[in-house]
């Protein structure tokens, strides 16, 4: 679709939950009534000032919003040292890694648990890969006094022990998933199986902007606080909008949260960064847009890593948070319309950017945004010095120190 054919990029999804051909409600009949109920309840909540007020209260006093927007002067200098003369845009970081629980995930969890309360649900389930969404869900469940079951791939349970223990401390029950290949997608399958079985009392807090409608919409809306804040903060700091905004993408919730408020600002270039693992030309990556094609999984049509028989393939990324063979449907649509440009970043490049950020800014980034950071350095180097690049630092790297040590061949 040519850009001029659209009045706005911000009107989706349509009544059927579609962004173009993407999205939809591809779920078992058992779940359909509940999904329709959730859609109606979310619509009512959006129109209810008391819901907004309660959400804002918790975002401010519990999550710690607004998160700062920070001019990364030393990273900017670092880029300028090797960039052509006059090149090297100012790099700003939206610091969602400073949120309670250390990532953007909690923005969405607060919103969804308030919806669960409104709907009278008494039990929460979630899926998690690295454990960040699991920790955020366990956190809000502790705060709101609801029992919480988290599905997590058995291999992830093994390699993310600190997060498993965190979730335990917060009172959540962890169910290691051995079905299928025992990864994030299988954790999501098992969460869906739980939901189908306990549909009466259970609310499923999906962690990314994917799944059946209305999840992609409501997760986006809850995460859009990132972009709204960033816009206002940039106007205050620079008196204008950034030239380029960037974020990493697994399922794509932090990215859509940053991007969505900027979609109709045509002068703002928007770039999403997928995880290229060992390279998109290998079978060891997680770049669904770059290396996949449209299919139907987990309730929505979107780009998927799959074979010619429609069987889903395993994703690979050094960052467990990007290690998913699909992507949110709105990203699939933004990719096809051309409004957002999607690029990718390999494990080793993310690792290098991770170390640079630690050394120069005193910020230990999560491996997920380290992917965006690597491409941000490249992009900034092509831009003029009076231009501005804003990147979402969506999570902190404390959880990743063991992975990084391992990748660097160091013992802790």
């Amino acid at each position: 679709m040519p850009e001029t054919a659209l009045n706005s990029y911000r009107n989706g999804p349509d009544a059927e939950g579609r962004f173009g051909i993407f999205g939809g409600r591809f779920v078992a009949e058992t779940l359909m009534p509940l999904i329709l109920e959730l859609e109606a309840e979310y619509k009512a909540a959006k129109a209810d000032p008391a819901f907004r007020e309660e959400l804002d209260y918790f975002l401010k006093h519990y999550v710690g919003r607004p998160s700062p927007m920070y001019y990364a002067e030393r990273l900017t200098d670092h880029v300028r040292q090797t960039a052509a003369k006059g090149k090297g845009a100012k790099i700003y970081l939206k610091r969602d890694e400073l949120n309670h629980t250390g990532a953007h995930k909690i923005n969405n969890c607060i919103g969804q648990i308030l919806l669960a309360k409104r709907m009278g649900k008494t039990r929460i389930i979630a899926e998690t890969g690295a454990g960040q969404h699991g920790v955020a869900t366990a956190t809000v469940c502790a705060r709101f006094g609801l029992p919480c079951t988290v599905y997590m791939g058995a291999t992830d349970v093994e390699r993310q022990k600190p997060n498993v223990f965190r979730m335990n401390l917060l009172g959540a029950e962890i169910k290691p998933v051995t079905s299928g290949t025992g990864t994030l997608k299988d954790a999501m399958n098992d969460a869906l199986r739980d939901w189908v079985t306990n549909v009466e009392d259970t609310f499923y807090i999906i962690g990314t902007a994917a799944g059946p409608h209305p999840y992609p919409e409501l997760v986006r809306d809850f995460q859009s606080v990132i972009g709204h804040e960033a816009k206002a903060q940039m106007m205050e700091a620079e008196g204008r909008l950034p030239d380029t905004i960037m974020a990493c993408i697994g399922g794509g919730s932090n990215a859509i949260g940053l991007f969505h408020p900027f979609l109709d600002d045509k002068e703002v270039e928007i770039i999403g960064v997928e995880a290229a693992g060992h390279g998109v030309d290998t079978d060891q990556h997680a770049a669904s847009l770059t290396g996949g094609n449209p299919g139907v999984l987990h309730g929505n049509r979107t780009y998927l890593l799959q074979d010619e028989d429609g069987q889903i393939q395993d994703a690979h990324s050094i960052s467990a948070g990007l290690d998913y063979p699909g992507i949110g449907p709105e990203h699939a649509w933004l990719h096809e319309t051309g409004r957002v440009k999607y690029v990718s970043c390999k494990d080793e490049e993310a690792l290098e950017a991770f170390q640079t950020c630690c050394a120069l800014e005193g910020i230990i980034p999560a491996l997920e945004p380290s992917h965006a950071l690597a491409r941000a350095f490249d992009r900034a180097a092509e831009m003029d010095q009076d231009q501005i690049l804003l990147m979402n630092m969506c999570g902190r790297g404390d959880k990743d120190i063991f992975t990084v040590a391992d990748a660097l061949g160091r013992e802790i």
């Binding site: 409600r25 779940l31 189908v196 306990n198 299919g295 049509r301 028989d309 069987q311 889903i312």
Partner: protein
Amino acid sequence: MTRIDDTFTRLKAEDKAAFVAFIMAGDPDYETSLSLLKQMPAAGVDVIELGICFTDPMADGAAIQAAGLRALEGGQTLKKTLSMVTDFRVEDKTTPIILMGYYNPIYIYGVEAFLKDADAAGVDGLIVVDLPPEEDAELCLPARKAGLDFIRLTTPTTDDKRLPEVIKNTSGFVYYVSVAGITGGAAGEKAAVDEAVDRIRQAAQLPVAVGFGIKTPDQAREIAKIADGVVVGSELISKLADSPKAAIDHMNALAEAIHTARKT
């Protein structure tokens, strides 16, 4: 008249419920699976549900998940599943075959090409778990147009308000999932199933088959007294994991119980 209509009409005249049996195509390999398929009518199976393997079967329990993975490891594809039906039809022109699975393999095959090839192979109907009526334009309507039945699942969460919507484009029969849950779990309470079957039968004017959680001949006999069809899947898959003979023996026992249920 289609093979599905014929079968239910004939059994109704004999005051019998239909035995609907599920196996996963290609489990554990093409030859074993085809051989089992060919033996099913003689073992008393009236309607065959043939599973399309998929890596991510979100509505299935452990038994069918494992069967799907075995089939995938054995190299099964949707194309091979269709050729299995073609092979079966060489000798059997009357037993209805319904393909059951998830949408993505069909979507990737291409809906139009799939419907053409399925029809040519001798497939009678489709059950696609992750296509609710909200997504009818994807496959249900094109399938009906191509002459294939689209059999819908209704569940305990399908209330009176929603039921007409769910059965609107359904044909062949209606599959009542007796519990909110996944395959191979608990079975529904008899009284609740009884009530639901009546309700659906009246609303749809179609035969109603009941499935999910039915394992033993005794359970099957109880359901056969109230429903037009009894679906057994996971338990047969588990028996097959022991041996093809164990699966056939269990089919014979289930068929006997289902077909004599209303005589006792």
